[in-house]
Point group: C2
Chain length 296, copies 2
Amino acid sequence: MPATDLKPWLKSTQEQVDAALRSFLPRENAAPKTIHKAMRYSIFAGGKRLRPVLCLAAAEACGGDVSEALAPACAVEVMHTYSLVHDDLPCMDDDDLRRGRPTSHKVFGEGMAVLTGDALLTEAFAILARTPATKRYSVGDYVREFAETGGSRKLIGGQVLDLEGEGKQLNKAQLIRIHEAKTAALLTCSVRLGAMTANSTPRKLEALTEFGYNLGLAFQVIDDILDVTQTTEMLGKTAGKDEAVDKSTYPAILGLDKSRKEAARLTRKALKSLEVFGKKGSRLEQIARYLLEREY
Amino acid sequence: MPATDLKPWLKSTQEQVDAALRSFLPRENAAPKTIHKAMRYSIFAGGKRLRPVLCLAAAEACGGDVSEALAPACAVEVMHTYSLVHDDLPCMDDDDLRRGRPTSHKVFGEGMAVLTGDALLTEAFAILARTPATKRYSVGDYVREFAETGGSRKLIGGQVLDLEGEGKQLNKAQLIRIHEAKTAALLTCSVRLGAMTANSTPRKLEALTEFGYNLGLAFQVIDDILDVTQTTEMLGKTAGKDEAVDKSTYPAILGLDKSRKEAARLTRKALKSLEVFGKKGSRLEQIARYLLEREY
């Protein structure tokens, strides 16, 4: 499958995900209107849908039907969005811009932004619970996997470490620990849930766990680099923020050149774990290469 | 079953719930420590465990094994606690005291309190997913019920209406709408989940839905009354808060006397729906009477 095929596939998959999100989320005019408007404001702010795309590609790699994986694909995106809404709050990272638009609390006020995040998190589980069970995996398995990923030892734990690390000089190991928790965990969960809807064998699930982990770390290194090298306009969020708040990042610890090499090394490692899928893994491979080749 | 039996049963049930909560929640010394400490701080602040108690009593009323209902009993308490932590935030109700102790953000800071609420909400789903399925109800059913109750049209929707109604003169219908969403929904969910673990018939589930709804409204009317008539010390939270922030409450709209009558009327209505359970419903009946007879 030549790499030129990726972009149209990405576009149509993102559209499919957006349509599913529109149908899964409560309508904008459902009462109380403010919260439903605020939920949709953050969800439809033009994200790349990276996590859903990975989830669906993983289902495909395991020989599954992509339509069975739409619910978990949306669930991971909704969980990701809730975490952004809360991370942007004044009492957390205090960000005014996200995906090129004012952040939720800037538009709806702080109290409403807290509730919007809460509602998205709750809705993520509601959406996930629509996923059909397979021979090997039950809805309980999906929910346990998802809750563990979103919980105090992974996604939220990473934000805690991030919050506590601000203004401190972290070493590489501490930084990796944050990236594992904040980024790699949800990327891993995305591919795993996709695979589970395709009734994946334990061996393939293990391979995707490796893939998600390394891809997640690579992704975060690249994000750190982009924060330094790109403008606010290009990023859609405040550029140079990490340095301004004296945040430990890959470029700050290793320098730009070594950070780029680290991203490439992690991506190669991720690609290696796809070997077990043969030709069926080519979509995941394309996505991983595409992420590495983002302009940075 | 004479009413004198209730207190020792309540005490031992509360202890059973606390023991289960201790085993379900991540350990206090798990990394990152701050969040796990903060989660336990709010969970073990001496709540009455009303929702778990109702969940277990409902399982009993449907002839079920109480131990099968411990996971949902804890899940509803953890969801309740998350909602308190977030409602107390400066950008929401801005409360300094809860259950007689400083609120989460007073002790751990605002950012950590947001994350603590998030972690509790996520953990609530993790705990719920441990509930054994029955012949009629799957883990997916539990999760859908729970997510709907906690979501933007019920629990969170109620807080939205509450936030938007502050300083405005609400009428009785608007007030009921808030109480339905903020209080009655989670009480109803508590008894329903308990019943589902006992493989309840649809008819009994319907009766418990009526029971939970009316008991929830009665409970909230009584809470409004207590806010006026009790001291901060007796309440364990700031007394007179509703009047101070010009909040619409039952006593403010109907006066104390009519509010008391309304609470009694709703409790009678709740008790009526227990008839279908015969003697097996006596524990639920005792709890309902006990709540009505709180000093107010």
